[in-house]
Symmetry: D2
Subunit: 88 residues, 4 copies
């Protein structure tokens, strides 16, 4: 497993832990803005995880395709699609 | 607990379940773009949960402040801050 | 015109000026990442303008509706819709 | 100039035109949510322009670096930085 994926796992586990905390905050009827802030924080961790996955993808799958010349167009189209979804 | 918070709990639990699935996908060395798509899907659930929390906040805390006249400025400044963070 | 709208006009004019600069950068065949950074900067200005408009909306239209009790549901539903689009 | 950049120019010009329209809406004291919706629409155009620039970047600069082996790390680090900013 490459470093990018290890970092992604770290961020995803942190986000999961935060979600458990947020669920508890809601049960404890905590203030809305405090809950919202926590949701935003765990969203940020998800985005960091995704950047790691995509960075790793560029370093491996995309690079291999570009060097070999196999499936480059497909890889680029996938990335365009992902970029569009990420910034929708 | 109001409906908004119940929906928020539903979306947060769904997002948590998806994160567990994503962690498995990484362990199984699944394709990067498939993992990325799942992360984007769980991010979308987090955003839906946050919209529910803020919608509930407007309906209760903000409305009470505006009707009573107590703490309106503070509530509005909090919302501005949250809107800025949400769209950073 | 309220302060929020004056700030929104300022940010929108700045964004417009940046877009003109970006168009020039593309004509001059400047480096992609430099162009992308400028687009991200002008997007940030657009978001700031939108936060001003919504902050002003909360202070005026929403507050009036909540105090008078007229059209509150409609205002809240509009805001939910806008929040969802802002964070899509 | 490649197609990506031509599309980017098209989207940027559309966004610029919309901003001019939004400025007019504010001067005409139009309803806040209608203005907000227009700002969101022009933001979406900016994002589309950015996806075109980055797609073109992948097809040219990044691909050349990966095939030649020159400056790959630098290109990947730039992309990581841009992805992080795009999804902040």
């Amino acid at each position: 497993m490459n470093d990018n994926r290890r970092y992604a796992i770290k961020y995803l586990n942190m986000a999961k832990g935060q979600i458990e905390g947020i669920l508890k905050m809601i049960e404890e009827d905590r203030y809305c803005i405090d809950i919202s802030n926590q949701i935003l924080a765990s969203e940020a961790l998800m985005r960091k995880a995704n950047v790691e996955i995509l960075h790793g993808h560029l370093k491996t799958c995309v690079k291999d395709a570009m060097v070999s010349g196999d499936g480059v167009e497909e890889k680029l189209e996938e990335l365009r699609h992902t970029l569009t979804k990420m910034t929708k």
